[in-house]
């Protein structure tokens, strides 16, 4: 639930505009009975949920107003109750809006619109307000100060749970030190048993909202916890609201939309209220709807020449008093038009007759009235449907297995023909047609000792349904559908079975892998961080993006399973870890492949790591209203897995590298003991001078060896790469005399010292030489960057 605060500098106009798209739904009483669904089932949990809703709300308010959020959360002991205080630096709210915002459940435009935002269903802060009122009997206390106003407003608000009407009991001006923002105080029955959960929630929120500064205080803390804003963090991109996609709505939502729309026709409604629906798509939806609502008209092959039925004669007989010639011409025209077709349905016969009649009228001065036309249609239809068994036999024979004997097919065809004989227009819905087939098949099984299994029946059904023609009826008006649940359900099914392009994905605003990493870096003191952001994907009618991050090593707890942090639309998911798709995916990955310890080869891996997953969507599929766990939607699980694997691959190469560096260090340590001893012994045995073994050591360690050689004022710095990969070296030689002829190196003078900077890439096994000259005596200090210490030997 957002949008309740007017935007900075835009005054009430925006607030009113927003208010226009808001509707009230009275479920205050419903809340009392369904606290558990909303996350208020225990006292400990209620406090967490209240904090969560209030913080989400505050963050959304700031972001919508384009303000970097600065949130203060405090929990105080207050007699038998706990008092929750949440402050933000948002744009403040108007006096008129406050009660609506905090007082009514399901109040807000969010319920219909599709946009990536925290609350999503409008059942957020108001539930917390209601809970506090129900348990403590105290009103919600709200302080708000819009920007630029000298004074702040103070309200006390209480909800009438019978009418879902909020009432303001106190309304006065007050002073407040924040220049703008909102403060809400709620007193409630609660306890602090979920203290660690609360702290985790706040920390997690800080990780996933690196652009926010958050401070948290509760009675158990000596001083408040402060979570600072990440340096480079900016406000998330504003998300764009998109209309719902036809594949992503539920029946309840559809009914509300039907009620609320200004559109008159179904086609207009579809195009107006949904994304990705144009004229053509709307027509497809309507055709599918009509099939369900009106059914299809069964179409039959016109009688063959050798059959008894004669359409022309029948039509001629049915037309009276129109003159022989006119009648004959008319009858021939009808007959020809019917025979031109492969199959013909009742409504097609109607239009053929109408056309022929219109023509006849145009040719002479005869009039073909409605009755005449009806008679002609009936006569022609009787002729067409005179013999159905042969037609049906062909259809059935086509789709049933060759093993079925003629008698069985004949039996089914003739029984089906009998069913059609009862009904004039042969117009029927899927269910009716399926009923015909089932009954005919049952009879055939019973009497002809044949079998028609489900597959055979389904095939026959498909053949007949395909042969049938959609009827050219107008769908009911939107207002009528809105009143009729069954019809609306038919429309929903029609929408779902129509192929429609996936919804646009640019309406999502992921955190971005850079900021995911920044968030982790800010809150966890680890050695390594990786993050990934997937491209947008779609489930149902809703686009979504998955992001993952991993932190490893450092101060992270090395014992026990890794910490899995779950987020949906920048909100930490606190409860029901085990029921969450994210957890399932983490468990299913073979972490040993990524060099993490995983006892038994499955389950949550162990070690000093944090794995975070963020799902951003216009509609995150939660397992319940309390929005604690992401449902197991296959498309989403796939994306979660890919995002985690992407980050895990970086972790793997880091761990590999770390291991090889470790081995290198161990080898270096060992050789650093052995080789000097060897050199000393050799000196002793041979009686020669002391040995310098740095060069040998560098070569042994596959190191990059930097050496200097000075001769007659010419300085040569050698960089010898003994490794088997290229080395990108940044070398700075600090010289106390001015260097000449520096061969492309950059030279900067500072306080009588010259910094000769040179950045060569030295291939494996190669040596690069930087040569320059100095006049007179000089001292040199070299510093080398770009090479790990383990791999560098400087001998200059």
């Amino acid at each position: 639930m957002t949008s309740y605060q007017s935007r900075l500098g835009e005054g009430e106009g925006i607030a009113e505009e927003l208010a226009e798209s808001q509707r009230a739904i009275s479920i205050a009483e419903f809340f009392e009975k369904n606290k558990h669904m909303l996350g208020f089932d225990s006292e400990a949990r209620a406090l967490v949920t209240a904090v969560k809703e209030a913080v989400d709300n505050a963050l959304d308010a700031c972001e919508e107003a384009g303000i970097l959020p600065d949130i203060y959360v405090e929990i105080q002991e207050s007699g038998d109750y706990y008092k929750l205080v949440v402050e933000d630096n948002g744009p403040g709210i108007t006096k008129e809006q406050a009660p609506k915002i905090f007082g009514k459940l399901l109040y807000g435009s969010r319920f219909h619109a599709r946009e990536q935002n925290r609350g999503q269903q409008g059942i957020g802060i108001s539930a917390a307000v209601l809970y506090s009122q129900l348990t403590s009997g105290k009103p919600a206390k709200i302080t708000s100060r819009p920007k630029g106003q000298d004074e702040a407003q103070y309200f006390e608000l209480i909800v009438d749970t019978d009418t879902n009407e909020p009432e303001i009991s106190v309304d006065e001006t007050t002073t407040w030190e924040r220049p703008h923002g909102t403060r809400i105080e709620l007193e409630m029955e609660a306890n602090m048993r979920a203290r660690s959960t609360l702290r985790d929630y706040i920390q997690d929120t800080a990780v996933v909202n690196p652009h926010a500064r958050i401070e948290f205080d509760e009675p158990g803390l000596d001083e408040s916890l402060k979570f600072e804003r990440a340096e480079r963090a900016e406000l998330p991109d504003e998300t764009e609201e998109i209309r719902p996609h036809p594949h992503g709505v539920e029946l309840g939502t559809l009914l509300k939309m039907l009620e609320a729309t200004d559109s008159y026709s179904v086609s207009g409604f579809m195009q107006e209220e949904f994304t990705r629906v144009g004229g053509k798509t709307a027509d497809s939806v309507i055709a599918n709807f009509n099939d369900r609502h009106y059914g299809r008209g069964m179409a039959w092959q016109p009688p063959k020449v050798n059959e008894d039925a004669d359409i022309e004669a029948a039509v001629e007989d049915a037309v009276a008093n129109k003159g022989a010639e006119t009648t004959a011409t008319f009858a021939a025209a009808v007959s020809d038009a019917i025979h031109d077709r492969d199959r013909v349905a009742y409504h097609e016969v109607e239009s053929i007759v109408d056309e022929a009649a219109d023509e006849a009228e145009a040719d002479g001065d005869t009039t073909f009235g409605a009755t005449v036309r009806e008679n002609a249609v009936d006569a022609a239809w009787v002729a067409v449907t005179d013999e159905l068994t042969a037609d049906l036999y062909a259809l059935v024979d086509d789709v049933t297995t060759k093993r079925k004997d003629d008698a069985a097919i004949e039996g089914l065809a003739s029984r089906l023909a009998d069913k059609f004989a009862d009904e004039g227009r042969h117009q029927l819905t899927r269910d009716e047609l399926r009923g015909y087939i089932d009954r005919a098949a049952d009879m055939t099984e019973e009497q002809d000792d044949a079998t028609y299994g489900d597959t055979a029946r389904e095939n026959v059904f498909e053949a007949l349904w395909t042969a049938a023609e959609g009827v050219p009826e107008e769908p009911p008006k939107v207002a009528d559908i809105a009143d009729d649940r069954d019809t609306a359900s038919e429309l929903l099914s029609a929408m779902r079975e129509t192929d429609i392009i996936a919804p646009p994905t640019d309406c999502l605003s992921p955190i971005s892998s850079e900021l995911v990493e920044e968030g982790l870096r800010k809150e966890f003191d680890a050695d390594f961080y990786a993050a990934s952001t997937r491209d947008a994907s779609v489930h149902g009618g809703d686009p979504f993006i998955v992001e993952a991050g991993i932190a490893y090593g450092g101060e992270l707890e090395a014992e026990g399973p890794v910490d899995v942090m779950r987020f949906a639309n920048r909100v930490p998911l606190v409860y029901q870890r085990g029921a969450c798709a994210t957890t399932d995916v983490v468990k299913s990955i073979r972490w040993r492949n990524y060099n993490l310890d995983q006892p038994g080869g499955s389950g949550i891996p162990k070690g000093p790591a944090v794995i975070m997953v963020h799902v951003a969507s216009t509609n995150v599929p939660f397992t319940s209203e309390s929005k604690d766990a992401i449902a197991n939607v296959p498309e989403m699980e796939d994306e979660i897995e890919l995002a985690i694997r992407e980050a895990a691959r970086e972790l793997k190469s880091y761990l590999n590298k770390r291991q090889s560096m470790q081995q290198r260090r161990e080898k270096q340590d060992k050789l650093a003991t052995i080789l000097p001893e060897m050199a000393e012994k050799l000196t002793e045995v041979t009686g020669n001078d002391d040995l310098h073994i740095d060069d040998s050591l560098a070569r042994i360690m596959n190191n990059v060896l930097v050496e200097r050689e000075v001769e007659d004022g010419t300085v040569r710095v050698h960089i010898e790469n003994n490794d088997d990969t290229n080395a990108d070296v940044e070398l700075t030689d600090i010289v106390t005399a001015e260097p000449q002829d520096t061969n492309g190196a950059t030279v900067v003078e500072m306080d009588g010292e010259w910094f000769v900077k040179w950045s060569p890439t030295v291939g494996a096994g190669e040596t690069a030489v930087l040569e320059y000259s100095v006049a007179g005596e000089a001292e040199f200090t070299v510093s080398v960057d770009g090479i790990e210490d383990e791999k560098l030997t400087v001998n200059a």
Binding site: K667, K670, L671, T673, I674, L675, E677, M678, A679, K681, L682, T683, E684, V685, T686, N688, L691, H692, I693, D695, S696, R699, I700
Partner: protein, 368 residues
């Protein structure tokens, strides 16, 4: 390789060779190079037949130990410490055993320089022999077990720490025979009535031959090999052959392991192929027990075990055994799947070996 047995380097020379080796490592360090030690690969696949000397020596394949790896650096370190020790030993004109070297390394200040097993120190001494071109005996390193025993009509003079001794290997020795010293090059042959040398694998068979007076009756120098013959034993056999012109015969059990004993007397061992020219007696002849004898004399046998079969098959691929005689015999043995010990001849009576088997075989070989 100092192949000429007459010109063994004296102590100072040996010491210098060792120090030169250390100097090579020193120079590699001084040049900023990685110290390395290259030695021939000491496996079956890297021995070749030296046509001139008629013995098997190492081929062209080399293994390099480089200080680039920890294990290579440790090997070179141990080599340097050992060189230091040996050069001091030579300077003081003392000697020590291989086992003493192994324990002595415990006293070295650096853990990495100490030997982990005696095999390691033994191998290192052999490596040093190869790269320094000096024999172990000239480093004054001796094996723990000394050479075997000789019984027969031979008069010799041995330089001992307690002065020179003249010894007749029948008249001046007990039933056990003359004990071969660690460095048989300290022996000078004075006189002999021997017609041939008979090397015997097992102690039991040697005692049988001596008890039956075989050495006396046939003027044989009976040399006890005692399993795989020590270097001193092989060296003495070679000298008996080269200097006294005595034919050498070898009498062992009839199983693949005994054929290897013959192989090391005759062709040289793989591990000491660098010394083949100094130790091997290519002219040595195999008496038996041949697989053929097992069949011919219907000797009591044991079935071949799996490892026997593997050893026989591996011998078929061993370049040293790729002769018509050995291929025939080994294939026969695989065929009959049996092996027999020397003592199995006792099944025909205690005198069968001296009265019948050996005279028949030696006659066949044209030595009687």
């Amino acid at each position: 390789m100092s192949t000429d047995s007459d010109t063994t380097p004296d102590t100072e020379e040996a010491r210098e060779q060792l120090i030169d080796l250390a100097a090579d490592f020193y120079d590699q360090f001084a040049d900023g190079e990685v110290p390395t030690m290259t030695i021939p690969t000491r496996t079956k696949s890297n021995i070749v037949f030296d046509e001139d000397e008629q013995v098997w020596v190492y081929g062209d394949r080399n293994s390099t130990r480089s200080a680039k790896t920890i294990s290579g650096a440790e090997k070179i370190l141990k080599a340097v410490y050992t060189i230091d020790f040996l050069s001091q030993q030579l300077e003081e004109d003392r000697s020590s055993t291989l086992r003493e070297l192994y324990y002595l390394s415990e006293s070295w200040d650096l853990d990495e320089a100490q030997f982990n097993t005696q095999d390691e120190s033994n191998n290192l001494i052999e490596d040093l022999e190869i790269v320094s071109d000096v024999k172990r005996e000239d480093f004054h390193m001796r094996p723990e077990e000394s050479g075997a025993k000789v019984m027969g009509p031979l008069l010799l003079r041995e330089q001992t720490n307690r002065g020179d001794r003249e010894i007749h290997c029948q008249d001046d020795v007990g039933q056990g025979g003359y004990q071969i010293p660690n460095n048989p090059d300290t022996i000078e042959f004075l006189d002999n009535d021997a017609k041939f040398v008979l090397c015997v694998e097992t102690g039991g068979m040697r005692d049988r031959l001596v008890e039956n007076g075989f050495d006396d009756e046939y003027d044989a120098l009976v040399v006890h090999l005692g399993g795989q013959p020590a270097r001193a034993t092989r060296r003495l056999i070679k000298r008996l052959h080269d200097e006294l012109g005595l034919p050498v015969t070898v009498f062992t059990d009839g199983d693949p392991w005994s054929y290897r004993i013959f192989g090391s007397v005759s062709y040289g061992s793989i591990k000491s192929a660098h010394l083949s020219e100094y130790l091997a007696t290519p002219e040595a002849q195999f008496i038996g027990i041949r697989p053929e004898d097992i069949v011919e004399y219907e000797l009591p046998t044991d079935p071949l075990s799996d490892s026997d079969v593997n050893a026989l098959e591996s011998e078929l691929e061993d370049p040293r055994f790729q002769t018509e005689f050995w291929e025939e015999q080994i294939e026969l043995q695989l065929d009959i799947n049996k092996k027999a010990e020397q003592q199995a001849l006792a099944s025909r009576g205690l005198d069968f070996v001296t009265d019948t088997y050996l005279p028949e075989r030696l006659d066949e070989m044209g030595l009687l």
